[in-house]
C-alpha cells in the first residue's frame, strides 16, 4: 500500500470510528435536538470516511470501502486513540468533539490544496461540515464551562480526561512525512499551533483551564490500540461478517 493510500486509511479510520461513537448517542442524548445534532455530525463523518476508504481501496488493489470497514481486524485499523474512547457522558463527547473538530478543520482547510484531486475535493466539501462541528462543540463548551458549578466541574473533568489523546493527532510519522513531501497531505505537526490557539481562546471564554497532561497516547496509526476499539469493531462489523455479501 502506497503512502497516499495509507494516509487516506488513517484519516478515514478516524472519521469512521468517531462516526460510530457519535451514532451511539442516538436515542441517548440529553435532548432529542442533540440526538439529531450528534447524529448529523456522525453522518458527515461517515460520508468523509466513505470517500477516504474508497480512495484508499482504489489506490491499493481494489478493495472496496466495505471490505476496508468491515473485514479488517483491529490491528489493521489506523485510527488515533482519541476517536476510540468510549462516548462517556455528554461533557466527554463535547470535549472530544472540541479537540477533534478543531483538528479536522485545520486539516481540511489545508487539504483543499492537496495535489490529489480526490482528497482536495473531499476537503472542500468537508470544510463546511467541520466548521459546523467545531461551532457546535464550542457553543457547548462555553455553556457547560461557564454554566453552573456542577457543569463547570464536569466539563473540566472531561477535558482533563480527553487531553492526553490530543497530542497523537499532531505526531508526524513516515506516512505523513511522505505525503506532505508530495503535496498530497500535510504534516500533522504543522497543524498544532492553530489548534492550540483555538483551544486556548475557547477555554478562556468558557472559564476552563487548559489541561497539561503528563502522558500522551501513542501508536494508533501503527495499529496499536486501546481495548475499546475491539469492542467497537465487534459491534460495527458483526452483521457484515455474519452475512457476507448480504444486500437489502
Amino acid at each position: 500500500m502506497n503512502a497516499t493510500a495509507r494516509y487516506c486509511l488513517g484519516l478515514g479510520d478516524d472519521a469512521l470510528v468517531l462516526a460510530h461513537r457519535l451514532g451511539e448517542w442516538l436515542s441517548r442524548a440529553p435532548q432529542i435536538e442533540e440526538d439529531m445534532a450528534l447524529g448529523n455530525i456522525g453522518l458527515d463523518l461517515l460520508g468523509q470516511a466513505r470517500t477516504l476508504l474508497t480512495h484508499a481501496g482504489e489506490l491499493s488493489g481494489g478493495r472496496s470501502e466495505d471490505d476496508l470497514a468491515y473485514l479488517r481486524d483491529e490491528r489493521e485499523f489506523r485510527c488515533v486513540h482519541l476517536v476510540q474512547l468510549p462516548r462517556g457522558d455528554f461533557g466527554d463527547t463535547v470535549a472530544r468533539q472540541l479537540v477533534f473538530s478543531t483538528y479536522q478543520l485545520a486539516l481540511y482547510s489545508r487539504l483543499v490544496e492537496s495535489t490529489d484531486p480526490v482528497i482536495s475535493a473531499l476537503a472542500s466539501k468537508a470544510v463546511k461540515e467541520v466548521t459546523y462541528h467545531r461551532d457546535h462543540a464550542v457553543q457547548w463548551t462555553l455553556r457547560l464551562g461557564d454554566g453552573t458549578a456542577e457543569s463547570h466541574r464536569r466539563m473540566q473533568a472531561s477535558l482533563d480526561a480527553v487531553w492526553p489523546y490530543a497530542d497523537e493527532l499532531f505526531t508526524d510519522d513516515d506516512v505523513s512525512v511522505a505525503v506532505a513531501a508530495d503535496g498530497v497531505g500535510v504534516l500533522p505537526s504543522s497543524l498544532r499551533g492553530e489548534c492550540e490557539q483555538v483551544w486556548a481562546d475557547v477555554l478562556t471564554r468558557a472559564t476552563l483551564e487548559l489541561p497539561e497532561p503528563r502522558s500522551h497516547a501513542r501508536g494508533g496509526r501503527d495499529g496499536r490500540h486501546s481495548e475499546h476499539l475491539g469492542y467497537l469493531l465487534a459491534e460495527m462489523q458483526h452483521i457484515a461478517r455474519s452475512h457476507p455479501g448480504a444486500t437489502w
Binding site: Q31, E33, E34, M36, A37, N40, Y132, D135, Q139, R143
Partner: protein
C-alpha cells in the same frame, strides 16, 4: 439537563425558492443561539432551507380557540372581499 427547563422556540424556515419564512415546527433550546443550531439540525438537514428564524414561543400571542366563531366565521361569506372581479395582467407574478 431537563427538557422542562429549556424554553420552547418556534422555528420558521425559508426554502430555496420560498419568498417568506414558513413555520416549520418547534423545539427546545437553552437560548437563541442554540435554538438556531438545533433548528438547523432538526428542520434543514435534508436541504429544506436557506434561512432560519427562531422565536421564543412565549413571545407569540395566539388567537384562542374559544374566539374562533367570532374571529373567523364572519369572513366565510364575504365573497366580494376576494379580488376575483379583476383581470390580472399576465406578467404580474406572485398574485
Amino acid at each position: 439537563m431537563n427538557a422542562g427547563e429549556w424554553p420552547l422556540w418556534e422555528v420558521f424556515v425559508r426554502g430555496k425558492r420560498g419568498l417568506n419564512h414558513t413555520h416549520a415546527g418547534s423545539l427546545h433550546a437553552p437560548d437563541a443561539t442554540m435554538a438556531l443550531r438545533n433548528a438547523r439540525d432538526v428542520y434543514t438537514r435534508r436541504g429544506e432551507g436557506v434561512s432560519i428564524w427562531v422565536v421564543p414561543a412565549s413571545s407569540i400571542t395566539a388567537s384562542s380557540p374559544d374566539e374562533r366563531d367570532s374571529f373567523f366565521d364572519p369572513a366565510a361569506d364575504k365573497v366580494y372581499r376576494h379580488p376575483t372581479f379583476y383581470d390580472v395582467p399576465e406578467d404580474v407574478e406572485y398574485l
